[in-house]
Amino acid sequence: MTELFPLVLEGACTRRGGKDLAGPVDLRLEGQGASIIIGPNGSGKTSLLRLIHGAARLSAGTITWACPTDTARHHQAFVFQRPVMLRRSVAQNIAYPLRLRGVGRRAALDQARDWGVRVGLADCLDLPAPVLSGGEQQKLALARALITEPRVLFLDEPCAALDGAATRDIETILADAKAAGTRIIMTTHDIGQARRLADEVIFLLHGRVHDRARADIFFDAPATSEAAAFLRGDIVQ
Protein backbone atom coordinates (compact mmCIF):
# COMPACT_ATOMS: atom_id res chain seq x y z
CA MET A 1 0.00 0.00 0.00
CA THR A 2 1.24 3.47 -0.85
CA GLU A 3 2.48 5.42 2.16
CA LEU A 4 1.16 8.99 2.37
CA PHE A 5 2.91 10.03 5.56
CA PRO A 6 4.87 11.79 6.79
CA LEU A 7 3.28 14.95 5.44
CA VAL A 8 5.54 17.97 5.62
CA LEU A 9 4.48 21.61 5.33
CA GLU A 10 7.24 24.16 4.97
CA GLY A 11 6.27 27.81 5.03
CA ALA A 12 2.92 26.81 3.53
CA CYS A 13 0.66 29.80 3.07
CA THR A 14 -2.70 30.51 1.44
CA ARG A 15 -3.80 34.00 0.55
CA ARG A 16 -6.82 35.52 -1.04
CA GLY A 17 -7.15 39.11 -2.15
CA GLY A 18 -3.75 39.96 -0.63
CA LYS A 19 -4.78 38.74 2.81
CA ASP A 20 -3.16 35.79 4.54
CA LEU A 21 -5.87 33.27 5.40
CA ALA A 22 -3.45 30.81 6.94
CA GLY A 23 0.30 30.43 7.23
CA PRO A 24 3.11 30.47 6.92
CA VAL A 25 2.92 27.07 8.58
CA ASP A 26 5.68 24.55 9.25
CA LEU A 27 4.24 21.20 10.23
CA ARG A 28 5.10 17.54 10.08
CA LEU A 29 2.27 15.05 10.42
CA GLU A 30 2.75 11.33 11.02
CA GLY A 31 0.45 8.60 9.85
CA GLN A 32 -1.56 7.64 12.91
CA GLY A 33 -4.36 8.93 15.14
CA ALA A 34 -6.47 12.06 15.23
CA SER A 35 -5.07 15.58 15.02
CA ILE A 36 -7.51 18.21 16.18
CA ILE A 37 -6.97 21.77 15.09
CA ILE A 38 -8.37 24.33 17.53
CA GLY A 39 -8.12 28.05 17.85
CA PRO A 40 -10.22 31.19 18.09
CA ASN A 41 -12.58 32.22 15.29
CA GLY A 42 -10.65 33.66 12.40
CA SER A 43 -7.42 31.91 13.33
CA GLY A 44 -7.42 30.11 9.97
CA LYS A 45 -8.47 26.59 11.00
CA THR A 46 -10.65 25.97 7.96
CA SER A 47 -8.13 27.54 5.59
CA LEU A 48 -5.33 25.38 6.93
CA LEU A 49 -7.46 22.25 6.59
CA ARG A 50 -8.38 23.12 3.00
CA LEU A 51 -4.78 23.96 2.25
CA ILE A 52 -3.54 20.58 3.43
CA HIS A 53 -6.34 18.84 1.50
CA GLY A 54 -5.47 20.75 -1.64
CA ALA A 55 -8.77 22.59 -1.98
CA ALA A 56 -7.21 25.97 -1.21
CA ARG A 57 -4.46 27.51 -3.30
CA LEU A 58 -0.93 27.17 -2.00
CA SER A 59 0.36 30.73 -2.29
CA ALA A 60 3.80 30.12 -0.87
CA GLY A 61 5.87 27.33 0.64
CA THR A 62 5.57 23.61 0.02
CA ILE A 63 3.34 20.73 1.05
CA THR A 64 5.00 17.37 0.58
CA TRP A 65 3.36 14.00 0.94
CA ALA A 66 5.40 10.83 1.03
CA CYS A 67 3.91 9.97 -2.37
CA PRO A 68 2.95 12.02 -5.44
CA THR A 69 0.28 14.62 -4.61
CA ASP A 70 -2.25 13.15 -7.05
CA THR A 71 -1.97 9.76 -5.38
CA ALA A 72 -2.30 11.39 -1.99
CA ARG A 73 -5.48 13.21 -3.04
CA HIS A 74 -6.94 9.97 -4.25
CA HIS A 75 -6.75 8.63 -0.69
CA GLN A 76 -8.33 11.62 1.01
CA ALA A 77 -11.88 12.66 1.83
CA PHE A 78 -13.26 15.90 3.17
CA VAL A 79 -16.37 16.53 5.29
CA PHE A 80 -17.71 20.08 5.36
CA GLN A 81 -19.32 22.01 8.17
CA ARG A 82 -22.40 22.37 5.97
CA PRO A 83 -22.72 19.09 4.08
CA VAL A 84 -23.36 19.34 0.33
CA MET A 85 -26.31 17.16 -0.69
CA LEU A 86 -26.43 16.01 -4.30
CA ARG A 87 -30.00 16.09 -5.62
CA ARG A 88 -30.27 12.34 -5.56
CA SER A 89 -31.39 9.68 -3.16
CA VAL A 90 -29.40 9.04 0.02
CA ALA A 91 -28.03 5.76 -1.36
CA GLN A 92 -26.98 7.41 -4.61
CA ASN A 93 -25.27 10.22 -2.69
CA ILE A 94 -23.22 7.73 -0.73
CA ALA A 95 -22.46 5.73 -3.88
CA TYR A 96 -21.36 8.82 -5.82
CA PRO A 97 -17.60 8.70 -5.04
CA LEU A 98 -17.48 5.03 -6.03
CA ARG A 99 -19.23 5.82 -9.31
CA LEU A 100 -16.61 8.51 -9.95
CA ARG A 101 -13.96 5.86 -9.44
CA GLY A 102 -15.54 3.65 -12.03
CA VAL A 103 -17.29 1.14 -9.77
CA GLY A 104 -20.34 -0.40 -11.45
CA ARG A 105 -23.73 1.01 -10.65
CA ARG A 106 -25.09 -2.02 -8.81
CA ALA A 107 -21.94 -2.76 -6.84
CA ALA A 108 -21.63 0.89 -5.82
CA LEU A 109 -25.23 1.01 -4.64
CA ASP A 110 -24.85 -2.22 -2.65
CA GLN A 111 -21.82 -0.82 -0.84
CA ALA A 112 -23.62 2.49 -0.34
CA ARG A 113 -26.52 0.72 1.34
CA ASP A 114 -24.10 -1.08 3.67
CA TRP A 115 -22.49 2.21 4.62
CA GLY A 116 -25.87 3.88 5.00
CA VAL A 117 -26.89 1.20 7.49
CA ARG A 118 -23.57 1.52 9.30
CA VAL A 119 -24.02 5.26 9.92
CA GLY A 120 -27.66 4.82 10.97
CA LEU A 121 -29.46 5.89 7.81
CA ALA A 122 -31.11 2.51 7.16
CA ASP A 123 -34.60 4.00 7.15
CA CYS A 124 -33.98 6.76 4.66
CA LEU A 125 -31.76 5.21 1.98
CA ASP A 126 -34.27 5.88 -0.77
CA LEU A 127 -35.32 9.37 0.32
CA PRO A 128 -34.06 12.41 -1.56
CA ALA A 129 -30.98 13.55 0.33
CA PRO A 130 -31.97 17.25 0.55
CA VAL A 131 -34.97 16.42 2.81
CA LEU A 132 -32.79 14.90 5.56
CA SER A 133 -32.24 16.69 8.89
CA GLY A 134 -28.90 18.36 9.59
CA GLY A 135 -27.60 15.43 11.63
CA GLU A 136 -28.68 12.90 9.02
CA GLN A 137 -27.07 14.94 6.28
CA GLN A 138 -23.79 14.97 8.18
CA LYS A 139 -24.00 11.18 8.66
CA LEU A 140 -24.57 10.85 4.95
CA ALA A 141 -21.53 13.04 4.30
CA LEU A 142 -19.47 10.81 6.59
CA ALA A 143 -20.63 7.64 4.86
CA ARG A 144 -19.90 9.25 1.49
CA ALA A 145 -16.42 10.18 2.71
CA LEU A 146 -15.64 6.80 4.26
CA ILE A 147 -16.97 4.62 1.43
CA THR A 148 -13.77 5.10 -0.56
CA GLU A 149 -11.79 3.91 2.47
CA PRO A 150 -9.64 7.03 2.58
CA ARG A 151 -6.28 7.00 4.36
CA VAL A 152 -6.90 10.53 5.59
CA LEU A 153 -10.24 12.04 6.58
CA PHE A 154 -10.48 15.81 6.89
CA LEU A 155 -13.40 17.23 8.86
CA ASP A 156 -14.21 20.91 9.15
CA GLU A 157 -16.32 21.48 12.28
CA PRO A 158 -18.59 18.58 11.34
CA CYS A 159 -20.79 18.95 14.43
CA ALA A 160 -21.04 22.74 14.59
CA ALA A 161 -24.75 22.83 13.85
CA LEU A 162 -25.80 19.52 15.40
CA ASP A 163 -27.55 18.53 18.61
CA GLY A 164 -26.04 16.28 21.28
CA ALA A 165 -27.43 12.97 20.01
CA ALA A 166 -26.22 13.54 16.46
CA THR A 167 -22.85 14.73 17.71
CA ARG A 168 -22.44 11.57 19.77
CA ASP A 169 -23.38 9.37 16.78
CA ILE A 170 -20.85 11.12 14.61
CA GLU A 171 -18.09 10.90 17.19
CA THR A 172 -18.77 7.16 17.43
CA ILE A 173 -18.40 6.79 13.68
CA LEU A 174 -15.16 8.78 13.78
CA ALA A 175 -13.80 6.69 16.65
CA ASP A 176 -14.57 3.53 14.64
CA ALA A 177 -12.87 4.95 11.58
CA LYS A 178 -9.82 5.87 13.62
CA ALA A 179 -9.72 2.40 15.12
CA ALA A 180 -9.82 1.00 11.57
CA GLY A 181 -6.67 2.99 10.79
CA THR A 182 -8.03 6.12 9.14
CA ARG A 183 -5.92 9.19 9.84
CA ILE A 184 -8.19 11.98 11.10
CA ILE A 185 -7.45 15.68 10.79
CA MET A 186 -10.27 17.81 12.10
CA THR A 187 -11.08 21.31 13.20
CA THR A 188 -13.50 22.11 15.99
CA HIS A 189 -14.39 24.97 18.29
CA ASP A 190 -15.82 22.52 20.83
CA ILE A 191 -13.11 21.93 23.47
CA GLY A 192 -15.05 18.96 24.86
CA GLN A 193 -15.07 17.29 21.46
CA ALA A 194 -11.37 17.95 21.09
CA ARG A 195 -10.74 16.29 24.47
CA ARG A 196 -12.82 13.25 23.48
CA LEU A 197 -11.26 12.65 20.06
CA ALA A 198 -7.77 14.13 19.98
CA ASP A 199 -4.50 12.22 20.03
CA GLU A 200 -2.71 15.46 19.42
CA VAL A 201 -3.78 19.09 19.36
CA ILE A 202 -2.65 21.83 17.01
CA PHE A 203 -3.44 25.27 18.44
CA LEU A 204 -3.72 27.88 15.73
CA LEU A 205 -3.46 31.63 16.26
CA HIS A 206 -3.35 34.30 13.53
CA GLY A 207 -2.97 31.63 10.88
CA ARG A 208 0.15 30.11 12.48
CA VAL A 209 0.77 27.06 14.61
CA HIS A 210 1.11 28.62 18.02
CA ASP A 211 1.24 25.43 20.06
CA ARG A 212 1.24 21.76 19.30
CA ALA A 213 1.30 18.90 21.76
CA ARG A 214 0.02 15.44 22.61
CA ALA A 215 -3.59 15.76 23.75
CA ASP A 216 -3.06 14.83 27.42
CA ILE A 217 -0.18 17.26 27.76
CA PHE A 218 -1.97 20.05 25.91
CA PHE A 219 -5.09 19.87 28.02
CA ASP A 220 -3.33 19.30 31.37
CA ALA A 221 -0.49 21.73 31.01
CA PRO A 222 -0.58 23.94 27.92
CA ALA A 223 2.83 25.28 27.05
CA THR A 224 1.75 28.75 26.01
CA SER A 225 -0.25 31.33 27.92
CA GLU A 226 -2.55 31.91 24.92
CA ALA A 227 -3.44 28.20 24.73
CA ALA A 228 -4.09 28.20 28.47
CA ALA A 229 -6.27 31.28 28.15
CA PHE A 230 -8.17 29.70 25.24
CA LEU A 231 -8.81 26.53 27.23
CA ARG A 232 -10.07 28.63 30.17
CA GLY A 233 -12.57 30.23 27.84
CA ASP A 234 -10.95 33.66 27.72
CA ILE A 235 -11.03 35.69 24.55
CA VAL A 236 -7.69 35.29 22.82
CA GLN A 237 -6.57 37.91 20.30
Binding site: G54, A55, F80, V84, L86, R87, L100
Partner: protein, 234 residues
Protein backbone atom coordinates in the same frame (compact mmCIF):
# COMPACT_ATOMS: atom_id res chain seq x y z
CA UNK B 1 -65.94 36.81 -32.73
CA UNK B 2 -67.46 35.13 -35.76
CA UNK B 3 -64.05 34.18 -37.13
CA UNK B 4 -62.93 32.84 -33.75
CA UNK B 5 -65.97 30.63 -33.39
CA UNK B 6 -65.78 29.41 -36.96
CA UNK B 7 -62.07 28.74 -36.49
CA UNK B 8 -62.72 26.68 -33.40
CA UNK B 9 -65.43 24.59 -35.01
CA UNK B 10 -63.33 24.03 -38.10
CA UNK B 11 -60.37 23.01 -35.94
CA UNK B 12 -62.53 20.42 -34.22
CA UNK B 13 -63.86 19.23 -37.57
CA UNK B 14 -60.40 18.96 -39.14
CA UNK B 15 -59.13 16.93 -36.20
CA UNK B 16 -62.18 14.68 -35.95
CA UNK B 17 -62.15 13.84 -39.65
CA UNK B 18 -58.37 13.24 -39.52
CA UNK B 19 -58.01 15.62 -42.45
CA UNK B 20 -55.07 14.19 -44.45
CA UNK B 21 -53.51 17.58 -45.23
CA UNK B 22 -53.71 18.57 -41.59
CA UNK B 23 -52.20 15.27 -40.47
CA UNK B 24 -49.36 15.69 -42.95
CA UNK B 25 -48.39 19.23 -42.02
CA UNK B 26 -48.82 18.53 -38.30
CA UNK B 27 -46.55 15.50 -38.57
CA UNK B 28 -44.03 17.58 -40.48
CA UNK B 29 -44.18 20.34 -37.86
CA UNK B 30 -43.43 17.77 -35.18
CA UNK B 31 -40.76 16.06 -37.23
CA UNK B 32 -38.87 19.29 -37.92
CA UNK B 33 -39.22 20.74 -34.46
CA UNK B 34 -38.47 17.58 -32.49
CA UNK B 35 -35.42 16.85 -34.63
CA UNK B 36 -34.24 20.41 -34.10
CA UNK B 37 -34.95 20.09 -30.40
CA UNK B 38 -32.92 16.89 -30.02
CA UNK B 39 -29.95 18.38 -31.86
CA UNK B 40 -30.17 21.75 -30.12
CA UNK B 41 -30.42 20.10 -26.71
CA UNK B 42 -27.40 17.94 -27.43
CA UNK B 43 -25.43 21.09 -28.23
CA UNK B 44 -26.86 23.51 -25.69
CA UNK B 45 -26.83 21.46 -22.49
CA UNK B 46 -23.16 20.44 -22.50
CA UNK B 47 -22.31 23.99 -23.55
CA UNK B 48 -24.29 25.38 -20.61
CA UNK B 49 -22.60 22.97 -18.22
CA UNK B 50 -19.16 23.82 -19.59
CA UNK B 51 -19.88 27.53 -19.17
CA UNK B 52 -20.90 26.84 -15.57
CA UNK B 53 -17.87 24.82 -14.46
CA UNK B 54 -15.04 26.11 -16.55
CA UNK B 55 -13.33 29.49 -16.22
CA UNK B 56 -11.84 30.38 -19.55
CA UNK B 57 -10.85 33.62 -21.05
CA UNK B 58 -13.87 34.30 -23.26
CA UNK B 59 -16.44 32.84 -20.89
CA UNK B 60 -18.14 36.15 -20.04
CA UNK B 61 -18.17 37.11 -23.71
CA UNK B 62 -19.71 33.78 -24.73
CA UNK B 63 -22.45 34.15 -22.11
CA UNK B 64 -23.18 37.71 -23.20
CA UNK B 65 -23.35 36.61 -26.83
CA UNK B 66 -25.70 33.73 -25.96
CA UNK B 67 -27.98 36.07 -24.06
CA UNK B 68 -27.98 38.51 -26.93
CA UNK B 69 -28.66 35.78 -29.50
CA UNK B 70 -31.72 34.74 -27.50
CA UNK B 71 -33.39 37.89 -28.74
CA UNK B 72 -32.27 37.47 -32.34
CA UNK B 73 -35.22 37.82 -34.72
CA UNK B 74 -35.83 34.41 -36.34
CA UNK B 75 -36.28 36.07 -39.70
CA UNK B 76 -32.65 37.22 -39.56
CA UNK B 77 -31.52 33.69 -38.73
CA UNK B 78 -33.63 32.47 -41.63
CA UNK B 79 -32.05 34.96 -43.99
CA UNK B 80 -28.52 34.04 -42.93
CA UNK B 81 -29.18 30.30 -43.23
CA UNK B 82 -30.84 30.96 -46.58
CA UNK B 83 -27.84 32.85 -47.94
CA UNK B 84 -25.49 30.12 -46.72
CA UNK B 85 -27.54 27.23 -48.11
CA UNK B 86 -28.47 28.92 -51.38
CA UNK B 87 -26.96 27.35 -54.48
CA UNK B 88 -24.91 30.51 -54.81
CA UNK B 89 -23.88 30.37 -51.13
CA UNK B 90 -20.94 28.62 -49.45
CA UNK B 91 -22.87 25.42 -48.69
CA UNK B 92 -24.97 25.48 -51.84
CA UNK B 93 -23.53 22.24 -53.17
CA UNK B 94 -25.34 20.35 -50.43
CA UNK B 95 -28.64 21.25 -52.08
CA UNK B 96 -30.34 21.64 -48.70
CA UNK B 97 -32.33 24.81 -49.35
CA UNK B 98 -36.10 24.32 -49.33
CA UNK B 99 -35.87 20.97 -47.54
CA UNK B 100 -36.96 20.02 -44.02
CA UNK B 101 -33.26 19.71 -43.17
CA UNK B 102 -32.78 23.42 -43.83
CA UNK B 103 -35.72 24.15 -41.53
CA UNK B 104 -34.15 21.99 -38.83
CA UNK B 105 -30.87 23.89 -39.18
CA UNK B 106 -32.60 27.26 -38.84
CA UNK B 107 -34.54 26.13 -35.79
CA UNK B 108 -31.41 24.72 -34.16
CA UNK B 109 -29.68 28.07 -34.61
CA UNK B 110 -32.68 29.85 -33.11
CA UNK B 111 -33.16 27.68 -30.03
CA UNK B 112 -29.60 26.74 -29.04
CA UNK B 113 -28.96 30.15 -27.43
CA UNK B 114 -32.32 30.04 -25.68
CA UNK B 115 -31.84 26.56 -24.23
CA UNK B 116 -28.19 27.16 -23.36
CA UNK B 117 -28.98 30.44 -21.64
CA UNK B 118 -31.81 29.11 -19.50
CA UNK B 119 -29.87 25.92 -18.73
CA UNK B 120 -26.78 27.89 -17.80
CA UNK B 121 -28.66 29.94 -15.24
CA UNK B 122 -29.90 26.90 -13.35
CA UNK B 123 -26.66 24.92 -13.75
CA UNK B 124 -24.67 27.85 -12.42
CA UNK B 125 -26.72 27.81 -9.22
CA UNK B 126 -26.33 24.06 -8.94
CA UNK B 127 -22.59 24.39 -9.46
CA UNK B 128 -22.30 26.94 -6.66
CA UNK B 129 -24.02 24.40 -4.43
CA UNK B 130 -21.83 21.48 -5.53
CA UNK B 131 -18.56 23.33 -6.04
CA UNK B 132 -16.78 22.56 -2.75
CA UNK B 133 -17.76 18.89 -2.71
CA UNK B 134 -16.78 18.17 -6.30
CA UNK B 135 -13.51 20.09 -6.04
CA UNK B 136 -12.71 18.13 -2.88
CA UNK B 137 -13.43 14.87 -4.70
CA UNK B 138 -10.98 15.92 -7.37
CA UNK B 139 -13.40 15.15 -10.21
CA UNK B 140 -12.56 15.56 -13.87
CA UNK B 141 -14.14 18.22 -16.07
CA UNK B 142 -16.27 15.59 -17.73
CA UNK B 143 -17.50 14.22 -14.38
CA UNK B 144 -18.43 17.72 -13.27
CA UNK B 145 -20.47 18.26 -16.41
CA UNK B 146 -22.23 14.91 -16.31
CA UNK B 147 -23.05 15.30 -12.61
CA UNK B 148 -24.54 18.76 -13.17
CA UNK B 149 -26.51 17.62 -16.21
CA UNK B 150 -27.92 14.62 -14.40
CA UNK B 151 -28.79 16.33 -11.14
CA UNK B 152 -30.13 19.40 -12.93
CA UNK B 153 -32.29 17.41 -15.34
CA UNK B 154 -35.53 18.88 -14.07
CA UNK B 155 -34.49 22.44 -14.81
CA UNK B 156 -32.95 21.29 -18.08
CA UNK B 157 -36.24 19.74 -19.15
CA UNK B 158 -37.86 23.13 -18.62
CA UNK B 159 -35.15 24.76 -20.71
CA UNK B 160 -35.72 22.24 -23.51
CA UNK B 161 -39.46 22.78 -23.41
CA UNK B 162 -38.91 26.52 -23.73
CA UNK B 163 -36.87 25.75 -26.83
CA UNK B 164 -39.62 23.49 -28.14
CA UNK B 165 -42.20 26.24 -27.63
CA UNK B 166 -40.13 28.73 -29.53
CA UNK B 167 -39.37 26.33 -32.37
CA UNK B 168 -42.86 24.92 -32.93
CA UNK B 169 -44.38 28.39 -33.13
CA UNK B 170 -41.67 29.86 -35.31
CA UNK B 171 -42.63 31.01 -38.79
CA UNK B 172 -40.26 33.71 -40.09
CA UNK B 173 -37.12 31.63 -40.50
CA UNK B 174 -38.64 28.39 -41.76
CA UNK B 175 -40.76 30.29 -44.25
CA UNK B 176 -37.57 31.63 -45.80
CA UNK B 177 -35.42 28.50 -45.73
CA UNK B 178 -38.24 25.99 -46.23
CA UNK B 179 -40.17 27.92 -48.85
CA UNK B 180 -43.56 26.69 -47.59
CA UNK B 181 -43.74 24.13 -50.41
CA UNK B 182 -46.93 22.10 -50.40
CA UNK B 183 -46.25 18.42 -49.60
CA UNK B 184 -42.60 19.13 -48.95
CA UNK B 185 -41.88 21.88 -46.44
CA UNK B 186 -45.25 23.22 -45.40
CA UNK B 187 -45.76 23.13 -41.66
CA UNK B 188 -48.48 24.43 -39.37
CA UNK B 189 -47.07 27.90 -38.90
CA UNK B 190 -46.33 28.56 -42.56
CA UNK B 191 -49.75 27.20 -43.50
CA UNK B 192 -51.28 29.67 -41.04
CA UNK B 193 -49.34 32.51 -42.66
CA UNK B 194 -50.51 31.33 -46.08
CA UNK B 195 -54.18 31.15 -45.12
CA UNK B 196 -53.98 34.53 -43.42
CA UNK B 197 -52.57 35.88 -46.68
CA UNK B 198 -55.53 34.46 -48.53
CA UNK B 199 -57.83 36.17 -46.05
CA UNK B 200 -59.17 32.83 -44.84
CA UNK B 201 -58.98 33.76 -41.17
CA UNK B 202 -61.20 30.91 -40.03
CA UNK B 203 -58.94 28.22 -41.51
CA UNK B 204 -55.85 30.06 -40.26
CA UNK B 205 -57.34 30.15 -36.78
CA UNK B 206 -58.32 26.49 -36.99
CA UNK B 207 -54.72 25.60 -37.79
CA UNK B 208 -53.65 27.89 -34.96
CA UNK B 209 -55.82 26.00 -32.52
CA UNK B 210 -54.39 22.71 -33.72
CA UNK B 211 -50.89 24.15 -33.18
CA UNK B 212 -51.74 25.22 -29.66
CA UNK B 213 -53.23 21.81 -28.93
CA UNK B 214 -50.13 20.09 -30.26
CA UNK B 215 -47.78 22.25 -28.18
CA UNK B 216 -49.79 21.74 -25.01
CA UNK B 217 -50.06 18.01 -25.69
CA UNK B 218 -46.31 17.58 -26.14
CA UNK B 219 -45.60 19.59 -22.99
CA UNK B 220 -47.99 17.47 -20.95
CA UNK B 221 -46.59 14.26 -22.41
CA UNK B 222 -43.02 15.19 -21.56
CA UNK B 223 -43.97 16.28 -18.05
CA UNK B 224 -45.81 13.02 -17.57
CA UNK B 225 -42.78 11.07 -18.74
CA UNK B 226 -40.66 13.08 -16.30
CA UNK B 227 -42.99 12.27 -13.41
CA UNK B 228 -42.96 8.54 -14.02
CA UNK B 229 -39.27 8.61 -13.25
CA UNK B 230 -38.92 7.82 -9.57
CA UNK B 231 -35.88 9.92 -8.94
CA UNK B 232 -37.43 13.03 -10.36
CA UNK B 233 -38.74 14.53 -7.19
CA UNK B 234 -36.90 17.78 -7.10
Amino acid sequence: MGDLWEGLTRAVWLVLTLDPDLMEISARSLQVTLTALVIATAIALPLAALLSVRRFRWRRAVIAVLNALMGLPPVVVGLIVYVILSRSGPLGVLGLLFTPTAMVIAQVVIIVPLIASIAHQSLRELWQEYHDLLISMNVTQWQKISTLLWDGRRALLTASLAGFGRAIGEVGAIMIVGGNIDNATRVLTTAIALETGRGDFALALALGFVLIGLAVGINLAIHWLGRTEREGRW
